[in-house]
Amino acid sequence: MARDKILVVEDDPTIRTILDVSLRKLFNVTLAEDGEEGLEKARLESPDLIISDVMMPKMDGFRLKEAIRVEPALHLVPFIFLTSKSDEQDRLEGLMTGADDYLVKPFHVDVLLKRVRMLIDRSRVYREDSLAVFSKEVNSIFVPDELPAIEGYDLFCKIKPATMGGGDFIDIVRIDDDHYTVLQGDVMGKGVKAKFFAYAFTGYFRGLIHAALSFQVDFSPTQLVNRFSAMVDSDPFLQDIFITFFLFNLNAQDAKLTYCNAGYMPGLLLNRHTNKLVELTAGGGIPGFYRGKYDEETLELASGDTLVLCSDGVYEAKNVDGTMLGGDQLKDFLSQREHSSADRLGDAIQGLVDDHTRRALQYDDISIGVFQKQ
């Protein structure tokens, strides 16, 4: 693991050297001679902890602390003041607010090291805890809590979030007993921002569908995609955000499925009788960017036909050597399993990915959707 970075801001060369020598064995140390240089180096290095003197030329320790406090990327970095006995107590206390700790010079190196360690560990635990809570809460939103029971169909939906989670989502909107709209997609990008947009996006789509329904307008997948694409295109706020997805309407009674693939990985249709695997590519490119016309295709599902949707995280899953799973391997694997139930097929795909990646860290979500006509 990389060593923690400590920024020492101190104008007295003797104390600076003492700090440098005592910390260097355990941490990566950056030195600065005054507040101004300290702020500059803090921005450059993003330290895990800052130790700063109070009285310094150019910018003193208090002004440095204030400058750090208002900087979004730095405001949570633990901060220790080094103070002199000569500083008046009340002034000190008034001004100490905001610092995580302070040490009075002369200090024991052991005491310093202990406090540094404790502060770094504590801030790490806070950070990891809050991220874990957030990821857990948020991830559960992106797959339906309970899959709707659609008569004559078996469904499997799963998203396995990555170490550095992405913005994958699957949403199933029930219109009535016979009609469903299914959306499986991916926000290009990683982390909290991607999750936020995935959440906003599914909400937007539900709104779009319900608006169409309340005006009793029929909507086709291409109509929904065109509407969405136009919105992304015209909104400058979304110029950095790209969402790709596979959208289909299912008429359960007639066993008709109409889909539009908007820049997502191709849908894979397994035909139980012909033993063939067909790639579903009708649609177009990334919404808000693609300049062509979106098209759609209607499939009539026969008994046993299975639609498999996998995110790029499945195709790009890497093993420790960096080799990707790849589409060919996935397709070969599916071709040999045309008789599996939806659940077994979904679990088998997850197993394929797990076998391939072993313990290699995954940087992208793995989404698997399986929709099977009984």
Binding site: M188, Y363, D364
Partner: protein, 109 residues
């Protein structure tokens, strides 16, 4: 991953090498901002030596293309290879921008 940046006759060339993914995409952003803040007519992305790209990397490139488009400026891709080419085709990005195999043609007005 490395990016080589070069400006000549109003053409800003970015040469990519290695793997562009979620872990290093932030390193490319300063180059992209430089292009957007500059006044080159054409941004030329040389992807010949880009071995691998993921959706975050594609996001960065697509975002550049889109923002240049709103400024009525041009982005061209020079040479797509192997897995990168496959992914561009799969996501149909190649349909929304111009990909050139010949540097001379890529630089023509």
């Amino acid at each position: 991953m490395s990016v080589e940046s070069q400006i000549q006759d109003q053409v800003h060339v970015l040469k990519f090498r290695g793997t562009l993914n979620a872990q290093n995409v932030e390193d490319v952003k300063p180059h992209i901002e430089q292009i957007l803040g500059g006044d080159c007519r054409i941004a030329l992305l040389d992807l010949e030596n880009l071995e691998e790209i993921d959706s975050s990397g594609i996001g960065a490139i697509v975002s550049l293309l889109k923002r240049m488009r709103t400024q009525k400026r041009d982005v061209r891709i020079f040479r797509l290879r192997g897995t990168v080419k496959k992914l561009f085709e799969l996501l149909r990005i190649d349909k929304s921008l111009e990909v050139y195999e010949d540097l001379g043609k890529a630089l023509l007005v």
